[in-house]
């Protein structure tokens, strides 16, 4: 009997730990939580999302997996997975229904994955050939090539599950239907201003619904968002490194939360064989440039002290982060000049760099640093929204972009390293070492096994110095003190949103 009781308690504790929805006396959802998003909502179709805006989707849609507190994927609508070569088998949670009453099962999940593959907008699904149902609650994804990041991709928009009725709806971008804890209240929402969400009556884990109402305000103007936070019109919001977030950091009653992941600002030497700018083929020149940047001053002056020096593509919270690379290109003007002196271009040279308005001040600072070693960087203005496109062409020998540090490291090769990589417009063949590491990183699935490979890759990238990492800015949340004290506020790993499961209002 004693053992029986012990076992029962243990079972309850384990089940609770696994989040299996043990029956507890749940309180009625109460109160409102108001979140402000800095980008306007474009579409509520997760599979057509090409950028930001996930905070608008999370209340309604759940993904098959989500990132745990350490960034490692844990099941959400799935219950487990197995990767066997090019086959990924995923078991699904039973008893889940969409908010319109439609059942969630393997057939629906397959339709979702195949739709995402056909639309081909989500980068994380580009390795997927197709999906098929094995049984009612098991699906199999067939890959075109090994992809250890596939489960991670299913933590984001690629793994969000839409109801069949929503998929069939031509106005899906404003009529989202998912399995999430909240439903979109179109009547209460105001287009371009605020999105209102109310509890989902069919939610599979009702104890996790803590709010009577959740609002996402579209406030792209940083000052307006700051004022809304100061006056209590919003409880939290997301920010980039700008004067307004610096104000939050020093305003009593407000708090700037530094989330995991972030944006890594870096310079890309696209013409690394020197087709247009011969000097770029010289490793000494590239290393001189890397040493010439005073990242500390850059972070303070240009990014308001909210950015950290960066020498690798990974953030400090990432599993691939290599502490040994810290300071590898520490600011050292003498060293930079020595590298230039021993290069084949000791007198310096000039090159063009594309710029969009938000990067103008960054590039002016970099131009000043490069000028100190005799390199003249001409800043060429581009229309906003065109930087990525021109960076994929041979119009410029170098460019500057940001890399999201929470992106799986395999994408480094797809974007910068492979001969046909998106941001390798001069089609430079990678070094044997880099190519081998890129291929090696695709074989194992376990991050613990992959980490040493990608650390080597970061080290090799530093040696070749065609990607010059400058600073890393964490994901920033501006919150009120009450939100900061609210223990139910959990920031999603590597994402600019709050986990709504279990979130309660500040009061």
């Amino acid at each position: 009997m004693k053992h029986g009781m012990k076992d029962a308690l243990l079972a309850v504790a384990v089940a609770a730990g696994l989040g299996l929805g043990v029956a507890t006396a749940s309180a009625e959802p109460t109160g409102t939580f108001r979140y402000a998003e800095q980008v306007k909502l474009i579409t509520m179709d997760p599979q057509q999302q090409s950028g930001s805006g996930v905070p608008y989707l999370r209340p309604v849609y759940e993904s098959l997996f989500e990132r745990g507190p350490d960034g490692v994927p844990v099941p959400l609508l799935a219950t487990g997975y197995e990767v066997d070569g090019l086959d990924v088998t995923i078991t699904l949670r039973e008893g889940v229904a969409f908010s319109n009453g439609e059942a969630f099962n393997a057939e629906v999940a397959v339709a979702n994955i195949n739709r995402g593959v056909a639309l081909a907008i989500i980068e994380g699904l580009k390795t997927v050939e197709s999906a098929e149902a094995v049984d009612e609650f098991t699906l199999r994804i067939k890959l075109k090539e090994p992809d250890p990041a596939i489960i991670d991709s299913l933590c984001h928009t690629g793994g969000m599950m839409l109801a069949p009725a929503a998929i069939a709806d031509p106005a899906l971008d404003r009529n989202p239907i998912g399995t999430g804890p909240y439903v979109y209240d179109r009547e209460a929402s105001r287009e371009g201003e605020v999105r209102v969400y109310t509890p989902n009556p069919t939610y599979w884990d009702k104890d996790k619904i803590g709010l009577a109402r959740y609002e996402v305000w579209e406030l792209p103007d940083d000052t307006a968002r700051l004022n809304a936070l100061k006056t209590g019109q919003i409880d939290a919001g997301n920010w980039l490194a700008n004067p307004q977030s610096a104000i939050i950091d020093r305003t009593p009653g407000l708090k700037l939360v530094r989330g995991s992941g972030g944006l890594n600002y870096h310079v890309i030497i696209s013409d690394r064989e020197g087709t247009v700018v011969p000097a770029f083929a010289d490793l000494d020149v590239r290393q001189a440039m890397a040493h010439a940047i005073d990242r500390e001053a850059f972070g303070k002056a240009i990014q308001f002290g909210l950015a950290e020096k960066s020498f690798q593509p990974y953030g400090k919270d990432d599993w691939a982060y290599d502490p040994a690379l810290e300071g590898v290109y520490e600011y050292d003007l003498d060293k930079a000049r020595e590298y230039m002196a021993k290069s084949t271009f000791p007198e310096g040279f000039s090159f063009d760099m594309p710029s969009i308005p938000i990067y103008q001040s960054r590039l002016e600072a970099l131009a000043g640093f490069f000028n100190e070693i005799g390199i003249r960087m001409n800043i060429v203005p581009q229309e906003p929204g065109t930087l990525a496109r021109v960076s994929r062409t041979t119009s410029y020998p170098a460019t500057n972009l940001v890399w999201q540090t929470n992106t799986d490291p395999k994408f480094l090769a797809l974007r910068y390293i492979y001969e046909n990589a998106a941001y390798n417009p001069f089609k430079t063949a990678p070094s044997d070492e880099l190519l081998a590491l890129a291929e090696e990183g695709l074989q194992p699935v376990d991050p613990a096994v992959r980490a040493p490979i990608y650390r080597k890759m970061a080290s090799r990238l530093a040696e070749e110095a065609f990607l010059i990492f400058v600073t890393n800015t964490p994901i920033l949340f501006g919150v009120s003190d009450r939100t900061a004290d609210n223990e139910t506020v959990v920031y999603r790993f590597g994402e600019d949103s709050i986990n709504l499961r279990g979130l309660k209002a500040n009061d």
Partner: protein, 314 residues
């Protein structure tokens, strides 16, 4: 008068046509590409082409324009490039917001401007006149967005008297509506009130020196009657012309002030559409704004005619 209204409304048709041609042409000349924004940074050329075809961007500009025009004359301004939101719906949703802002701003501008102008004109070269002139100069010099930021900092963030951001519809709560528009309207209307004050002062000083004013006073009419009925009515004739221009300025200024107060009006919609190069949305906004300006000018002409019988069409 009815003929005037009909004439003006008929003139609106070619005007809107010309404006739509120009807007379509200029927007298409922009180097940025909405398809890039839709497909994102990691899209392949194939995906890019699919979206480009879906939006009809691979067709010649003339064909695209004619197709758009064919739908527009039937009242369909199309849908956004980026989602299923109809242009007409989006514009009509924001129009009351911008009109609220413009109307309250115009009211503030008229009340403050006329009162200050009259006070200054009644006592020329007095301290009231100098103060009003100084105020008018200050009002015209300060940028409305800067003034808006100051108002927010003082009255919303520090004193908490008004909301810092957002707009409440009149139908939802008249009191909250007033609270939501008062600061942006002051920010927006200050400059116009200064311009109106200057005009009223100048016109009133001239009118008050006219013989008929002296005659009215000699007849023993009360000072108030002379001022309101004889002086102000005549002084308002040139002021109405300024007012027409100022309302157009207020409409334009609302686009900027909406940003400061995060008000979801036509300005916010326009800025978003221009940033994304959402051509159907830009077209719709521009056409509505042009129509609004024409309506304002028509209303001005009507008021002008009522105030000045000589100006009425025969």
């Amino acid at each position: 008068m009815i003929r005037l209204i009909v004439q003006r409304l008929l003139a609106l048709v070619p005007l809107l046509f010309i404006v739509s041609v120009l807007t379509f042409s200029f927007t298409s000349l922009l180097p940025s590409d909405p398809v890039d924004l839709i497909v994102g940074d990691t899209a392949t050329q194939e995906q890019y082409e699919i979206v480009r075809e879906r939006l009809g961007m691979n067709q010649p500009i003339v064909v695209r324009y004619v197709q758009w025009l064919g739908r527009a004359v039937q009242g369909d301004l199309g849908t956004s490039f980026f989602n299923s939101v109809s242009v007409t719906g989006a514009v009509m949703q924001r129009l009351p917001v911008t009109l609220s802002l413009t109307a309250v701003s115009a009211l503030i501008a008229i009340v403050v401007g006329v009162a200050a102008g009259m006070a200054a004109a009644l006592r020329p070269r007095s301290w009231i006149d100098r103060f009003a002139t100084l105020g008018a100069t200050f009002g015209q010099a300060i940028p409305n967005f800067w003034f808006g930021l100051i108002l927010v900092a003082v009255f919303a963030v520090n004193l908490r008297w008004f909301p810092a951001t957002g707009f409440t519809a009149l139908s939802a709560s008249p009191w909250d509506w007033l609270r939501s528009v008062i600061l942006p309207s002051i920010a927006l209307g200050t400059s116009s009130s200064a311009a109106i004050a200057r005009q009223v002062r100048s016109a009133m000083v001239g009118v008050l020196q006219q013989d008929y004013i002296r005659a009215a006073r000699a007849q023993g009419l009360s000072a108030r009657r002379v001022l309101i009925k004889h002086a102000l009515t005549n002084a308002m004739v040139p002021v109405v012309a300024v007012l027409s221009f100022q309302i157009t300025v207020l409409l334009g200024g609302a686009l900027v002030v909406e940003q400061v107060f995060a008000i979801n009006g036509l300005g916010t919609l326009a800025i978003g559409a221009v940033r994304q190069q959402d051509i159907p949305m830009i077209q719709g906004i521009v056409l509505v704004m042009v129509a609004l300006v024409v309506v304002v000018q028509l209303a001005t002409d009507i008021v002008y005619g009522l105030l000045n019988p000589k100006a009425r069409p025969s």
